[in-house]
Amino acid sequence: MVKAVFALLMVVSFMQAYELNAQMKDFMDSLLTEAKKQNPNLKAFDYARGEKIFTAEQMGKKGNKISCVTCHTADLAKKGLNENTNKVIEPLSPSANPKRFSDAKEVKKWLRRNFKDVYNREGSAQEQGDVVTYIINKK
C-alpha cells in the first residue's frame, strides 16, 4: 500500500507542470490565443511535439545540420556550450536555473533568435508554445 501511494505520488509529481510566473503565464496565454487563430483545432501546447522540435536536426541558418541539443545538450539541467564561440551556456531548465523562463522579453528574444539559427525561419506560435512546454517540464 505504502509503495502504491509512493508510486502514485511519483506519478503526480512527474505530471505536475512547472509553475510559471505571471508575466510568463500571460506570454504563454497570448501564444496559445495566437496559435488557436492559426489552428482552430488546437487545444493546448504539447510536450511531445515540443520535444521533437527541440531534438530534431535541421539544416540551420549557417547551412549545417543543427538542433537545439547541439548547444544546450539533451540534459537541460546541465550546462551547454555555444558551438560557434565556445562560451558556456547556463542550464536551460528552470528547475536547475530559476532565472530561465522568468522574463518574457528574454524568452521572446531567444525564441526568435534560436528558431532562426536552427530552423532558419521564425517559429510559429504553436511551435514556440510547444517547445517552451517541453523545456520547462522536462525532468
Binding site: 555555444n82 560557434n84 564561440t85 562560451k87 522579453k105 526568435r112 533568435r113 532562426k116
Partner: protein, 174 residues
C-alpha cells in the same frame, strides 16, 4: 581679485590634471563596463572591448545583427541603439591613448571597415605564426575566442606574458 585669479588658476589646473591623467598612455584597451553590453553581447561570446574596433565597424556590426557571423543575434531597436551608442562612444579611434586601440586603429586603412577584430592588420600580424592545430583545438576553436589564451583579456589586458595557450603553455616569439 588676486585671490580669485589664483583660485581659478588652481581649479583650471586641477581640471587639466584630471583630464590629463584619464588620457595618459595606457596599456591594453579600456575594459568593457556597460552592463547592457556585457549582458546582451557577452551571453554568447567574449565581450570584446569597444576599443578593439573603430566606430564605423561597430555601426556595421550593429546594423546586421540578424546575420551576425551566421547567427541571429537580433535585439529590440531600443537595446540596439543603446549598445551602439556605447560601442561608438568608446571605439578605438577615440581611445588612442590605449596602446592596443592605437595599434589596431593605425593598422586600418581609411577606406576599410573591418567586420571583425580578427580582420584588422594589427591583429593578423600579432597572431601570425600560431600553429593551426593550437587554434583549432576544442579549447580554443577560433582566434575570436580571446579568453582561451589571453588570461586577462576580460580586463582589457593582452600582454604577451599573460598568454597561456591550452596544451602548449606560455607563448614566446620565435
Amino acid at each position: 581679485m588676486k585671490k580669485l585669479v589664483i583660485a581659478s588658476l588652481l581649479i583650471a589646473g586641477s581640471l587639466l590634471a584630471e583630464s590629463g591623467s584619464s588620457f595618459e598612455n595606457r596599456k591594453g584597451v579600456a575594459p568593457a563596463t556597460d552592463s547592457l553590453y556585457l549582458k546582451e553581447c557577452g551571453s554568447c561570446h567574449f565581450a570584446y572591448q569597444p576599443g578593439l574596433l573603430p566606430s564605423r565597424s561597430w555601426v556595421k556590426t550593429m546594423e546586421k545583427l540578424n546575420d551576425h557571423f551566421g547567427t541571429d543575434a537580433s535585439l529590440e531597436p531600443e537595446e540596439n541603439k543603446k549598445i551602439l551608442k556605447y560601442l561608438v562612444d568608446n571605439s578605438a579611434e577615440k581611445f588612442t591613448n590605449y596602446k592596443r586601440s592605437k595599434k589596431i586603429n593605425d593598422s586600418i586603412g581609411k577606406n576599410e571597415t573591418p567586420a571583425a577584430i580578427t580582420k584588422t592588420g594589427y591583429f593578423i600580424k600579432e597572431h601570425k605564426g600560431i600553429k593551426p592545430k593550437l587554434i583549432e583545438q576544442k579549447e580554443v576553436k577560433s582566434l575570436s575566442n580571446c579568453m582561451a589564451c589571453h588570461t586577462k583579456a576580460d580586463k582589457g589586458s593582452y600582454s604577451e606574458r599573460e598568454i597561456n595557450i591550452p596544451n602548449y603553455g606560455k607563448w614566446e616569439d620565435e
